[in-house]
Symmetry: C2
Subunit: 169 residues, 2 copies
DNA sequence: CACAATTCAATTGCGTACAACTAAATGGCC
DNA sequence: GGCCATTTAGTTGTACGCAATTGAATTGTG
C-alpha cells in the first residue's frame, strides 16, 4: 500500500454541519432497517445452526411447509426473490436432501419444488425457532404485529415508488 | 434434471395447520424487515444511479462526510461492518476516485480513509437524496423517527441476545 | 531487551441479491 | 401448421455480508 507518505489530513472534514443535517447516518431510516435486518441475521445464524440451513433457506422452507409443492415462480412471488437468487439456493437445499425439484409435466418451462420426507420432517424441529427468535427480540406479540404492519406499509410504498421511477425513463 | 418422472405430489402438504401457525411466513417479523430493507435497496439503486455508487457505498460516504478522515476500524463501528466487507468496498470507492486510503504514520496497522476533493464535492449532489427517499416512503418525519427508534431498540436487543448465545458455548 | 498476547487490515470462501442475458417451451394469431 | 411475443429457469457477472484465517505492527510483561 504505502500511498506515498502524506502528512496529516486529506480534506477538510465538513466544518459545522447545520443542526438538521439530512445526511447524518443516524437520521437514515434505511440504515436502522438494514442494521436490524442484519442483527436478525446474526440471531438466526445461531438458532438455525441446529437445522444446518441459512436464514434465506429457512424462509424457503417456511413457504414449502405452508403451501406444499410450488413452482419456482410462485416461490419467488411469496419471497420477493427471482430465479437468479432461488436457483442456486434451491440446488443447495436439494443437495442437503431437503427439497426435490422436477420439471412440471404440464408445462416443461416450470420447475416444481417440493419437500422430501426429510424436509417435511424438519418442520417439527423448526417449531422451536420462532419462540427462540421472539424471545431474542424482547418485544411482545402486539409490538411485533404493530411493527410488522408498519414495515409492510413501508415496503408497499417503496415498491410503488420504484415502479414509478422506473417507468419515468 | 428430469429427476425420473414422478406422478403428482411429492409429500403431503401440511394437512391442517393450527389457526395460530408460528411458522407462517407472514407471521415472521424478520421477513417484513428483510423485505423492507430490500425494497429500500431498490429505491436507492435508482436514486443513487446519478451518483454512480451503491447503497452501502453511500453509507460509507455519509460517515466520511460527517466525521472526516477515519480509520477502517472506526468506519466499521459506525456501520456495523467488518474489514471483510469494507476492504473491497473501499477499494472500489478508491478506484472511483472518491476516497483515499493510506497507512497511518503513527500506527502502521491502521489504514486511514479520507475523502478526495471529488468525494467531498459529491456531498452537494447527495443533499437531494434524502428528500427523494423520504418522498418514496410516504411517511412523515415523525413516523420515520418513531419507526427508527423502534428498530434501534430491536437491533440492541438482538445484538445482546446474539452475544449471550455465543458466550453459552 | 525479549516474547507472548493482542490489534488491525486484508484475504479467502461461501451464500445471498439482483441486473442482464440465454434458451427452451408455450400461447396466440394469421 | 408456421411464426412471433411471452413466460419460465437457469447462467453470468458484480457487489455485499460475514466467518475464519493470515500477516504485520503494537502493547504488555517480566
Amino acid at each position: 500500500m504505502a500511498c506515498k507518505g502524506y502528512p496529516g489530513r486529506m480534506t477538510t472534514p465538513t466544518p459545522t454541519p447545520p443542526t438538521t443535517d439530512w445526511l447524518r447516518l443516524d437520521q437514515q431510516i434505511c440504515f436502522s432497517l438494514n442494521a436490524a435486518s442484519r442483527a436478525f441475521g446474526g440471531v438466526y445464524r445461531v438458532v438455525l445452526k441446529d437445522l444446518g440451513i441459512t436464514y434465506p433457506q429457512y424462509l424457503v422452507m417456511l413457504v414449502l411447509w405452508e403451501h406444499g409443492e410450488l413452482p419456482v415462480k410462485k416461490l419467488g412471488e411469496h419471497l420477493r426473490l427471482d430465479s437468479g437468487t432461488l436457483s442456486p439456493l434451491l440446488k443447495r437445499l436439494e443437495a442437503a436432501g431437503l427439497v426435490r425439484r422436477e420439471r412440471s409435466a404440464r408445462d416443461e418451462r416450470s420447475v416444481e419444488v417440493g419437500l422430501t420426507d426429510e424436509g417435511d420432517a424438519m418442520r417439527e424441529r423448526a417449531l422451536a425457532v420462532p419462540r427462540r427468535i421472539s424471545a431474542a427480540t424482547g418485544f411482545d406479540v402486539d409490538e411485533i404485529r404493530e411493527l410488522r404492519s408498519r414495515l409492510d406499509e413501508l415496503t408497499s410504498a417503496l415498491d410503488a415508488a420504484t415502479l414509478e421511477r422506473a417507468s419515468e425513463e
